[in-house]
Amino acid sequence: MKNRLRVMRAEHRLSQAALAQILDVSRQTVNAIEVGKHDPSLTLAFRIAAVFSRPIEDVFLGLEEAQMAVLAVKQDSDAD
């Protein structure tokens, strides 16, 4: 999953190690999420968003597509 973790980390001047310590995960987990090799659990995703005081969709990209798909399904069911 694409995300803006690296940019947000830079904005808050946080190193991977520091963020890992805040989130109580290993630095490898932060790195793997950052480079898109690992999708975090829902709990961790919410914790990451909370650290940067942003909504989850600001940190993790691609959620708009899911929202659009939901809207399309709703519109289809309304039309029926």
Binding site: Q21, V25, N31, A32
Partner: protein
């Protein structure tokens, strides 16, 4: 302080973790990731210690069973006692899995899938093509354990390598 220095001085690294990592117990730290949580390292070390103890007790129990003339009920006692470290191993593994970091859990899960898949593949082949023999158990167990161990080591190294390679990029952002 650069991020490299910050990571090197990180309290979760084995080098900085204090006397608990010195001596023979340090041999049981299989995955020495820099940045791995101390809790995960302790859990992993406990699992490895129990695994070695279990194997040692199993071998000893087998030697006692085959070389000594012990009465029947006592043989069963030896066999039952040999399962104690096995039980502790399973319990410590579950603890490690439950409390583990997300990457650690992912690696363990993939390794278990590799082990199970290999055991299934080899097991089916052996059962269908090789006549019933006492080596069936070993023929299935050994590839399973090997596949699990190899996957853990390779995945652990890959994760550690990725994280190490990304430190320089991390510094650029700062």
């Amino acid at each position: 302080m650069t991020i490299r220095q910050e990571i090197d001085s990180d309290q979760t690294t084995p080098e900085a973790a204090g006397p608990s990592h010195k001596g023979m117990l340090a041999w049981f730290d299989a995955l020495k990731w820099k940045g791995m949580r101390e809790r995960d390292r302790q859990n992993e070390r406990r699992v490895n210690v129990y695994a070695f103890a279990w194997v040692a007790v199993l071998i000893s129990a087998n030697v006692i069973r085959t070389t000594t003339q012990i009465a029947e009920p006592f043989i069963w006692l030896v066999v039952l006692l040999s399962t104690v470290p096995g039980f502790l191993f399973v319990k410590s593994y579950l603890k490690m899995f439950r409390e583990g970091d997300e990457m650690l859990r992912l690696i363990q899960l993939e390794a278990m899938a590799c082990g199970f898949g290999t055991a299934f593949l080899v097991g089916l082949t052996v059962i269908f093509l090789v006549p019933a023999s006492p080596v069936w158990g070993i023929a299935i167990l050994m590839p399973m354990v090997l596949a699990y161990c190899i996957r853990v080591i390779l995945a652990g190294r890959e994760v550690a390598r990725d994280a190490a390679a990304n430190v320089d990029a991390d510094e650029e952002v700062k």
